[in-house]
C-alpha cells in the first residue's frame, strides 16, 4: 500500500510540472466538440425530428464524455508507460527501492484514472453549462468514466510494457480508440449499423460506458440492465490486470 501511494506521489509530482496544457485542453476540447457537433450539426439533425427522441447535443454529450475518458486513459497508458521502461527508466529506479512490481503498476494505474477523472469532471461541468444534463443521476457518470478508463487502460499498460517501439501505439489508436469512438454509439445509435458492426460495438467497452453515461445524464433506460454493463466493464479489468502485471513482471523482474 505504502509503495503504491509513493508511486502515485511520484507521478503526481511530475504532473504538477506539466498540468497546465492538459487541464486547458480537457476543458477546451469538450467545449469545441459540443459547439461544433452538438450545436452546429445538431441544428440540422434536430430540424428533421429523427429517431433519437432527444436533442442531438444531449445525445452526443454523454458519448463524448466517455470517449474523453477513453482517450485520456489510453494515451496516458501508452507513451508514459513506454517512457518508464525505455527512456527515463523510471520504473527501474522505483524497482531498486523496496516497492513491488504490483505497486509500481497499481500506483501508475491509479494516477491514470485520476487524470481521466479530472477530464471527465471538467467535461461534465461544461455539459451542465450547455444544458445537456437532465438527470440528478448525472454525477454517476464520474465513476462510470473511471470504470471505462480502467477497463480500457489496464490492458494497454500490458501492451505498452510489451511493445518494442513506440510506433506500435498508432495501432492502438487506429484499430482501437478511433473505431470505438466512431462506432460505439457516441455519434449515432448502434442500432443504425449492420448486425456485424453492431456486434463489434457490443464487444467494445466504450459502448457499455456510453450506455451507462447516457442513462446517468439523461435519466433514460440503458440498453441492457445496468449491472450487465458494469459487469462487462469489470470483466475487462479482471482480464486486463493479470495480463498487465505479467508484462510488468517480465520487464522488471528478469
Amino acid at each position: 500500500m505504502g509503495g503504491t501511494v509513493a508511486v502515485l506521489g511520484h507521478h503526481l509530482t511530475i504532473y504538477r510540472r506539466v498540468w497546465r496544457g492538459s487541464v486547458f485542453t480537457s476543458f477546451l476540447v469538450p467545449v469545441l466538440f459540443l459547439l461544433g457537433m452538438g450545436i452546429s450539426v445538431g441544428g440540422y439533425v434536430d430540424e428533421r425530428q429523427g429517431p433519437l427522441g432527444v436533442p442531438y447535443l444531449d445525445f452526443i454529450a454523454p458519448g463524448l464524455l466517455m470517449s474523453t475518458a477513453l482517450q485520456v486513459a489510453v494515451s496516458e497508458a501508452m507513451w508514459p508507460v513506454f517512457d518508464g521502461f525505455a527512456w527515463s527508466r523510471r520504473y527501474e529506479v522505483m524497482r531498486t527501492a523496496p516497492v513491488r512490481t504490483r505497486d509500481i503498476l497499481l500506483g501508475h494505474v491509479a494516477f491514470v484514472q485520476l487524470r481521466a477523472l479530472i477530464a471527465v469532471a471538467g467535461f461534465l461541468l461544461v455539459m451542465t453549462l450547455f444544458g445537456a444534463v437532465h438527470s440528478a443521476l448525472a454525477p454517476l457518470a464520474l465513476p462510470v468514466g473511471v470504470l471505462v478508463g480502467c477497463a480500457t487502460s489496464i490492458p494497454i499498460f500490458g501492451y505498452s510494457a510489451h511493445v518494442k517501439s513506440e510506433n506500435m501505439f498508432a495501432v492502438v489508436m487506429r484499430f482501437g480508440v478511433i473505431p470505438m469512438t466512431l462506432f460505439a454509439g457516441v455519434f449515432f445509435e448502434v442500432g443504425a449499423m449492420p448486425p456485424a458492426a453492431r456486434a463489434l460495438a457490443y464487444v467494445s467497452p466504450l459502448w457499455h460506458g456510453v450506455e451507462l453515461a447516457r442513462g446517468a445524464t439523461l435519466g433514460v433506460d440503458t440498453a441492457w440492465s445496468w449491472p450487465l454493463h458494469v459487469g462487462y466493464l469489470l470483466l475487462w479489468i479482471a482480464v486486463g490486470w493479470p495480463l498487465a502485471l505479467r508484462q510488468f513482471t517480465r520487464r522488471l523482474d528478469t
Binding site: 506521489g9 531498486t96 516497492v99 513491488r100
Partner: protein, 306 residues
C-alpha cells in the same frame, strides 16, 4: 557473517548464460570491485544482488536474507547507482531525491533535510531547485549517487560510477566514495578502469564471459599474475611476430599486441639492455611498473575496452 554471499550464482537469459556460476563474498565495510570487459556479466550480477533480477541458479544471500523472498526488506538497506543514469528530467534535483525517498517510507521532512545534505555532499547544493535536464553528464552521475544514498544504505551498489566522466569529475566521485567507505558503508562497484579499481577496491574479482577468473586485493593480483615491471616495445606495425621470436627468453614472459610487444620482467632496464644486446632497435621503449591492466591481459587474453 558476510553481507553478500553468493555460491554457484547463475543468470541465464533464454539459453544464453550471462553469469556462469560465480562465488563471491563481501564483508561489512569493505570496498569490493567487479572488473571485466563489456558483456562479462558485471551488471547482471549487480542486478541480482540488487534484488531486481532473480538468480537462475545457485545460492545468494544478502544480509543473510533471500533476495527473492525478502527483496523489499533487502532493498530498503541498499543504495543502487545503475549503469545508465535514470533521472526524472522534468523534476528538479531536490525533487528527484525526495520523490525517491518516499519509496523507502522516509517522512517528507526528513527526506528534504537529507536530500539537501546529500546534494551538498555531491557538490550540487546550489543546483537543488534547478531542473535536471541541462545538467552535465558528471553532475547527473553525482545526482544518481546522491539518490542512492537517500536511505542511508549499508551497502551501495555502483555500476560503473565514473564511466564517461572527465578526470576531475572522476576524482571528485572517488573522493566522495572514499569518504563513504570511511563511514563504514560497504561499497560494491563495477568498473572498466584499472586505476579506479586500484584506488577504491580493497578486494576485487576479474570477470570474463560470466566466470570469475581471479580474485584478490589489487596489489596481490599484480604480484601474482604479473612481474614487477613491464617493458613496452614498438617496432612499427608489421612483422611483430618475427620480433617476438627474436626476443624469446628475454624477461619472464612476453605478449604480442596488435601494435606493440610487452615484456614482463622483474628488472625492466636489464630487459631493455638484453633487447639491445640482441641487435634489435625498437622505435620506442617504455619501462613501467606493472598494473592491473597487465593482470587483466594475462587472464583474459585481451585489453580492456571502455
Amino acid at each position: 557473517m558476510s553481507l553478500i554471499e553468493a555460491q554457484g550464482l547463475v543468470k541465464r537469459f533464454g539459453d544464453f548464460t550471462a553469469v556462469d556460476g560465480i562465488d563471491v563474498r563481501v564483508e561489512a565495510g569493505e570496498a569490493f570491485g567487479f572488473l571485466g570487459p563489456n558483456g562479462a556479466g558485471k551488471s547482471s550480477t549487480m542486478r541480482m544482488v540488487g534484488c531486481v533480477s532473480p538468480p537462475t541458479d545457485g545460492q545468494l544471500r544478502i544480509f543473510g536474507m533471500d533476495p527473492v523472498r525478502d527483496g523489499p526488506a533487502i532493498r530498503s538497506r541498499l543504495g543502487v547507482c545503475p549503469q545508465q543514469d535514470s533521472l526524472d528530467l522534468e523534476l528538479t534535483c531536490l525533487e528527484n531525491l525526495t520523490v525517491y525517498a518516499r519509496y523507502f517510507g522516509i517522512p517528507r521532512k526528513v527526506a528534504r533535510e537529507r536530500a539537501r545534505e546529500l546534494l551538498d555532499f555531491v557538490q550540487l547544493g546550489d543546483r537543488a531547485d534547478s531542473p535536471v535536464e541541462p545538467l552535465s553528464g558528471g553532475m547527473k552521475r553525482r545526482l544518481v549517487i546522491a539518490r542512492a544514498l537517500i536511505n542511508e544504505p549499508e551497502i551501495v551498489l555502483l555500476d560503473e560510477p565514473t564511466t564517461g566522466l572527465d578526470p576531475q569529475a572522476r576524482h571528485l566521485v572517488w573522493e566522495r566514495l572514499f569518504r563513504l567507505k570511511q563511514r563504514g558503508v560497504t561499497l560494491v562497484l563495477t568498473t572498466h578502469y584499472m586505476d579506479e579499481a586500484e584506488q577504491l577496491c580493497d578486494r576485487l574479482v576479474v570477470m570474463d564471459a560470466g566466470k570469475i577468473v581471479a580474485e584478490d586485493a589489487p596489489r596481490a593480483l599484480i604480484e601474482r599474475y604479473s612481474t614487477r615491471e613491464v617493458v613496452e616495445l614498438r617496432f612499427g606495425l608489421d612483422g611483430l611476430d618475427t620480433y617476438a621470436d627474436k626476443l624469446a627468453g628475454v624477461g619472464e614472459r612476453l605478449e604480442v599486441l596488435p601494435d606493440r610487444i610487452l615484456l614482463y620482467a622483474a628488472d625492466g632496464d636489464d630487459a631493455v639492455a638484453q633487447v639491445h644486446g640482441r641487435g634489435l632497435t625498437p622505435s620506442s621503449v617504455l619501462v613501467r611498473r606493472s598494473t592491473l591492466e597487465d593482470v587483466f591481459l594475462h587472464l583474459t587474453g585481451r585489453t580492456l575496452v571502455d
